[in-house]
């Protein structure tokens, strides 16, 4: 199934991208030097589509186990992180790191505290104080920035 599904998915993606590329602004021929802006992406997209067809014909299918529970959980936690980071980047990171450690089998409170509180705090301080990086304001970062 994956033998055809992945190349077919790639071709659909490329067709969509090709259609999008036809919507780019064009340079009037009198001003044009070299290629139109859509020419190069379209060449690459055609190449990918042609190669995907070849993959369907020639490539041997890969046998692999179904995705494990841990992978699904980790992917789900990515979504949780993406949503929480809207409220505060470090809140998202802390919750993600703690939950990931827990779902991967960490049961010691110290271990979970280390990854969810201590490490994000230290990394925040390192980037804020040493590298002078300004993080987006949020629920927790406002405590620091005031």
């Amino acid at each position: 199934m994956a033998r055809f599904a992945v190349p077919c998915g790639t071709i659909v993606f490329c067709l969509l991208a090709y259609w999008l590329s036809t919507q780019f602004d064009r340079v009037p021929p009198i001003l044009l030097r070299g290629m139109q802006p859509e020419d190069f992406p379209q060449m690459v997209l055609l190449l990918i589509m042609a190669l995907s067809v070849l993959v369907m014909i020639f490539d041997k299918p890969i046998e692999h186990d179904p995705m494990t529970f841990n992978v699904w959980t980790s992917l789900g936690l990515f979504v949780v992180f993406a949503l929480l980071s809207q409220i505060d980047l470090f809140l998202g990171l802390g919750v993600f790191a703690g939950a990931l450690a827990y779902t991967w089998g960490e049961r010691r409170l110290l271990g979970i505290g280390l990854v969810s509180v201590l490490s994000p705090t230290l990394i925040f301080l390192l980037f804020d104080q040493v590298f002078q990086i300004r993080f987006p304001r949020g629920l927790l970062t406002n405590i620091w920035y005031g």
Binding site: R26, P41, I48, F96, W104, G111, I123
Partner: protein, 498 residues
């Protein structure tokens, strides 16, 4: 000669030397940690170097490259788990030797071979890169375009995927590079109204995603693995008898590693495999290989460390990455506003030589780190993955944000991680994607310049001897293995008479 010494002088800042020593230790830890390798380590540490001056920044990245490649041998020998894929062949003989109670001897041999291989390759780098750059100095856009096409064609043979899938992954990288303003016409492409995308998709978030975050998902699949540390009393230098047995192997593998490293996109993994196979082929006792042959360790380790120096030759001289980690270093150079290529050796020669000296320095530091610290670094492997990977994720996300201080980069890193995981799952290597992303911009720019130069008569590119040579090499790189297989099949049919 002046830039050579100016480069050395630039490195002689005590603060920088301490930083490089710390980077060596950091690289060794990265190489020993499960799932992390030189490429991931360099990608994760790239944001840390943003605020630094170019020389310390790139010296740190190259130091991590060399140190992490070397460190893979420690875990390969002591726990039968190669810290990096380049040390996979070291397991074959290193672990059996360790099981026989000769872990110290195996690690000593790995350290000495790595050091010699690394030093030989850096000397080759010092000699070859300026020469190659001088040759390329007269390249016009068509030659550069053909060279970049050749560099991309070499993607077919790297990574875990099949050649077809590798080229698709590389082309996807090239496609990603077209996001943003077209360099020649300034028309916006695939930006979907995001202002942040008009400068294109950043290398850093994509690399952090495909190398770091996707590895987190791969690790999620392998949580049950158990590792056992071999008892090791002390590390000892190889005996005179060992040296007598392996000196030819070390020299041969150093040559192989340097040559493989110089080939665009080929890296330490391929070098170590060829180095190991050649060591076995030339050995008087090939039957010992796989059971604890000291030549096996020397062959593999000298080759994979020699490849690091070799890989920097096309990276610095031509701007074509010689390996996946060199691609990350190339991205680092570009972030610092440096343009690798022939002009680097005329306009920024001091900088180029400072990198060479840094690599030489780290290779000498291996001796001390390898001989005195291996026992400690092997224990790093036992950091529980459920502690390590949440911290790596936090680093990855903050690192992705740090470069442009944009939340969009965080989501790009996250999306790249998920895409990278599924690519790996379905047999598409992520390395060509990264290299395609880096080379894509150059490829389009050089094609555009060539068309302007040749008045849109693209076929004239084939009338230029050097471009034609690169196009022929491209065809050989893409179809050579296929024709070779057909040729050897026909040969075996003829010889068996069937």
């Amino acid at each position: 000669m002046e830039p050579l010494f100016a480069g050395l002088y630039a490195l002689m800042d005590p603060q920088l030397l301490v930083l490089l020593f710390a980077a060596t230790l950091g690289g060794v830890i990265i190489g020993a940690l499960p799932g992390l390798n030189a490429t991931t380590g360099a990608a994760l540490l790239l944001p840390f170097t943003i605020t630094m001056e170019p020389i310390p920044a790139i010296a740190i990245l190259t130091t991590i490259y060399c140190a992490a490649t070397f460190a893979g041998a420690i875990t390969a020998i002591l726990i039968n788990t190669p810290g990096t894929s380049a040390s996979a062949t070291t397991c074959l003989d290193g672990y059996p030797l360790a099981q026989r109670g000769e872990a110290g001897r195996a690690l000593g041999m790995a350290t000495v071979s790595s050091t010699i291989g690394g030093i030989i390759s850096v000397i080759c780098l010092m000699l070859a890169a300026p020469l190659l750059a001088r040759m390329a100095y007269n390249f016009a856009p068509p030659e550069y375009f053909a060279l970049t096409v050749f560099g991309i064609s070499m993607l077919a043979t790297i990574g875990d995927g099949t050649p077809l899938k590798n080229i698709i992954a590389g082309a996807l990288g090239v496609l990603l590079a077209t996001v943003g303003k077209d360099l020649l016409t300034t028309v916006e492409r695939f930006t979907f109204g995001f202002n942040e995308l008009s400068e294109g998709i950043g290398f850093v978030p994509v690399m952090i995603g495909i190398f770091g975050i996707s590895e987190l998902l791969v690790q999620a699949e392998q949580l049950q693995g158990e590792r056992k540390l071999i008892e090791m009393k002390a590390i000892k230098l190889p005996s005179r008898e060992d040296y007598r047995r392996v000196w030819k192997t070390i020299l041969r593998s150093s040559g192989i590693g340097t040559f493989i490293g110089i080939l665009p996109a080929e890296g330490a993994t391929v070098a170590s495999m060829i180095g190991y196979n050649e060591a076995r082929r030339w050995s008087k006792t090939p039957e010992e290989f796989g059971k604890g042959a000291i030549e096996g360790i020397a062959g593999s380790e000298a080759a994979n460390n020699a490849a690091t120096g070799g890989a920097m030759v096309p990276t610095l001289a031509l701007g074509i990455p010689g390996s996946p980690t060199a691609a990350v270093i190339l991205a680092g150079l570009m972030i610092h506003g440096l343009q690798p290529g022939p002009t680097m050796f005329t306009e920024q020669a001091e900088f180029a030589y400072a990198i060479f000296w840094a690599m030489l320095l780290v290779n000498i530091t291996f001796i001390f780190v390898g001989l005195f610290g291996a026992k400690i670094f092997a224990r790093v492997t036992f950091v529980p993955v459920q502690i390590l990977w949440p911290i790596v994720f936090t680093f990855s996300i903050v690192g992705a944000y740090a470069l442009d201080q944009s939340m969009l980069d965080v989501y790009i890193a996250l999306a790249s991680g998920v895409i990278g995981y599924f690519m790996r799952r379905f047999g598409y290597s992520v390395v060509p994607l990264a290299i395609g992303l880096i080379l894509g911009g150059m490829l389009e720019k050089r094609l555009g310049q060539s068309l302007i130069m040749l008045d849109d008569q693209w076929w004239l590119m084939f009338a230029r001897p050097l471009s034609l040579l690169f196009f022929v090499l491209t065809i050989l790189a893409l179809f050579g293995p296929f024709f070779w297989r057909l040729f050897t099949q026909r040969d075996s049919i003829n010889s068996t008479g069937k």
